[in-house]
Symmetry: C4
Subunit: 270 residues, 4 copies
Amino acid sequence: MRRTTFSLLSPDRGGRAGVVVDWLIMAVILVNVAAVMMETVDSVASQYGPVFLWLEICSVALFTVEYLGRVWSAVEHPAYSGPISGRVRFASRPLLIVDLLAILPFYLALFGVGGDLRVIRALRLFKLFRYSQSLSFFTRVLKRKKTDLVVVTVVDAAVLVVVSSLVYLVEHQAQPETFTSIPQTLWWGVATLTTVGYGDMYPVTPLGQLLGGITAVLGIGLFALPASIIASGFLEEARSATTCPQCGTRIDHTDDATDSSVSGRLENSR
Amino acid sequence: MRRTTFSLLSPDRGGRAGVVVDWLIMAVILVNVAAVMMETVDSVASQYGPVFLWLEICSVALFTVEYLGRVWSAVEHPAYSGPISGRVRFASRPLLIVDLLAILPFYLALFGVGGDLRVIRALRLFKLFRYSQSLSFFTRVLKRKKTDLVVVTVVDAAVLVVVSSLVYLVEHQAQPETFTSIPQTLWWGVATLTTVGYGDMYPVTPLGQLLGGITAVLGIGLFALPASIIASGFLEEARSATTCPQCGTRIDHTDDATDSSVSGRLENSR
Amino acid sequence: MRRTTFSLLSPDRGGRAGVVVDWLIMAVILVNVAAVMMETVDSVASQYGPVFLWLEICSVALFTVEYLGRVWSAVEHPAYSGPISGRVRFASRPLLIVDLLAILPFYLALFGVGGDLRVIRALRLFKLFRYSQSLSFFTRVLKRKKTDLVVVTVVDAAVLVVVSSLVYLVEHQAQPETFTSIPQTLWWGVATLTTVGYGDMYPVTPLGQLLGGITAVLGIGLFALPASIIASGFLEEARSATTCPQCGTRIDHTDDATDSSVSGRLENSR
Amino acid sequence: MRRTTFSLLSPDRGGRAGVVVDWLIMAVILVNVAAVMMETVDSVASQYGPVFLWLEICSVALFTVEYLGRVWSAVEHPAYSGPISGRVRFASRPLLIVDLLAILPFYLALFGVGGDLRVIRALRLFKLFRYSQSLSFFTRVLKRKKTDLVVVTVVDAAVLVVVSSLVYLVEHQAQPETFTSIPQTLWWGVATLTTVGYGDMYPVTPLGQLLGGITAVLGIGLFALPASIIASGFLEEARSATTCPQCGTRIDHTDDATDSSVSGRLENSR
């Protein structure tokens, strides 16, 4: 029976029944996230309060059964064979911690601990990670481009600090109520460099506007780089990730086929 | 005569007369869309009311003749040969439904059904799809990159929900009138992640601004990806789509030449 | 003497004296554009009025001499050899029309014609096109990607009209003062699709915000495409444009080396 | 001892002690930048005033020792061997000038010169350049794409001047308080072309909005180009920069391997 539980709860296993379990859990997660969002709308919350309460109780019951089932049946996996040490190691995996965080606030609230953590329940969305090949593909792309993204992040952070300090220096006297401090001006800096431009803070002096214009131009040159870098990572990851046509094993060409990737070469150049 | 009608109404057929018919229909569509738009300008509507009415009557007459002609002559096409079943299948094609929607509101209004559907007439623009190689090229690009775009859309939707929930949690108390609920905060989230930044909603607390800054930076990294993906699809589609220099048939290299396309590989990697 | 004039006025010709003439004209153009801009600043205009007047008179004098000199010496060029027909054809070239437009308003104003055309003088900037290799390089890039840019422009225009019509339909009743008509809503549509987001118009109804969010997401997918397309044109143009190492002639590989360019293939696929 | 000082102060030299010195200086720089930013927050400044003062004194002391140590030991480097001329040449290098600017304001303030230059201290961040491989990698990317970036900058500047002049011409009469002059309208132009769109200036006349819409569309086509160009430079630089697997020397393939880079070809095409 433990073996059956293990199969049922593993994505892409457990036959027809496993698929039903997978889709059931996914549906409950999505309904939960939608419920958390709708519950913050006053008119909806006051009218359907009991519905949300019952949905929460049923969801937590299901997620608790799921969590306990996973931990209990984990020893079926060869990597987690020890009855206690294996289960502890299994329960420490990020996805299992997400599973625990999805139910813990409810039990804490029963004992009057934790205050109003309703919104935290939106993080139940992360439970979907288990079923998402999109996200695991995306994670591999980010990993592949890590070095490049770090280079850009360092440069972007330095540019943000410098332009914000300069604009604060220029605008503080003209608008002491708006550009109150450098940390506050960082907010202007991010809104400008990312070209969001809310309009709650903007320079009004000629020198401030000159600096602001340079900042905006720098912004689309520097802050748009991550998108280009991730996009090229997408292409490379898709090229290097193939499955063996015979046995279906995923073959990672990272070591040889992607010599030409930026991160790989960058590593070499150090 | 049915054969002639069929040729006349098929784009790029019917000889000189067919070209005249094509251009006539296209011109009437464009004039219609312009009319719908100008009719919403009060000063124009009050002055040229009768002109718009007559234009509408003539356009509907023409489009009705066109629609009936297409359905009647459809049986000339070998794929729709059955006198009734063929015509029904033909009339169910998306472009034919668009043709029907372009005239139906007028006839419904004659019988007092449907209310004020004037603006719906702007959708007559979609009738142009039949004549647009741009759009069919574009559709092929989107089809080719479907898998990648789905990956990005899933990730983007998850990021949108999570950042909006967190910012709601942080800003709701400081600005209960602005950040009223999570669904309302989703509007802020989209405006920030796409870097539109209208300025109707923005965080004012330090923690909210920190989250908002991270959201904006994530936005240009994640929400700008579709543009890069579509652009690379553009390049690949243009490379793989060639016509035979002898007979003019379109040759699609998708199966072999574009093994290296992201979507193709991604399929393999599953 | 006519031959000397011709050489002096041709960019990259006329030896040392020609270079001096080139730089003189370029400097006068830049000073002129700066003057036109500064003259609109009231405090500057009232203080330095006479300076601007004299600068204008001297500039027009120089540009008039330059214009007459170009037309007079044009017949030295083999392609414009006819004394009258050659000069007329030469004077009809875009750059010569720009030269004429740079001086004509001044003479019209002398005869009381044309009103206040001072700002038109900012267009003298276009006279720099003659000296700019950047701009000619850029023009070639645009020409190479013409077909792709047309495809995207058609799709973008259609999307703009459709989303603006829909948002007008949804928002007109809630904000009749802001979303007054579809043409006015097009302004919102452009500001959203380009992610500028001034904040003077934005939807406030839930349905309008849903449409607005979809519009913003579509915007970065579709309206950012031209940048990617031009960027890839940049790369291809730079690759295909080489000069013969022996004689210095520019060799355009367009016909063979860039078979793989999007526009080339698109042409083939038709 | 001079030799030891030289090794200790050179990044990636001086053994374990050198690493400690490197990390110590980096940490002090980061703490300094954070302090400068926090000091502008009134509540923090009034409470922790003495802490900031002592931090400043200690930092300047350390940076002074570091600066004198670098200049004194510079003659150990073969390129700066002359006791005076070598040290002067060494002290003229950009990084050494940054080091000097990091301490000079403090000493000037002691003698009552320079006024309130506290914020200038944020520029101490630039001292980190010495330790940053990210920034040196980034500088090489910018150098590689210099020609392309210049082409785009020239075109962008011309577009900015022309659209701003035209919009000023159209909007000045409708909004004389907002579009006061062309230089002021340049601020609108930058905010629109970069798609920041603060919302402090925007056209309200139909013609102005038409021009504004065209400007916004041009903006994402032209002002987003630098990001694409820098991104492709990133890829190329990473490809061409490898180290010899035997001796670790950095090998720059610029001359042969990157023939296909835009800037290289552009140079050829001239």
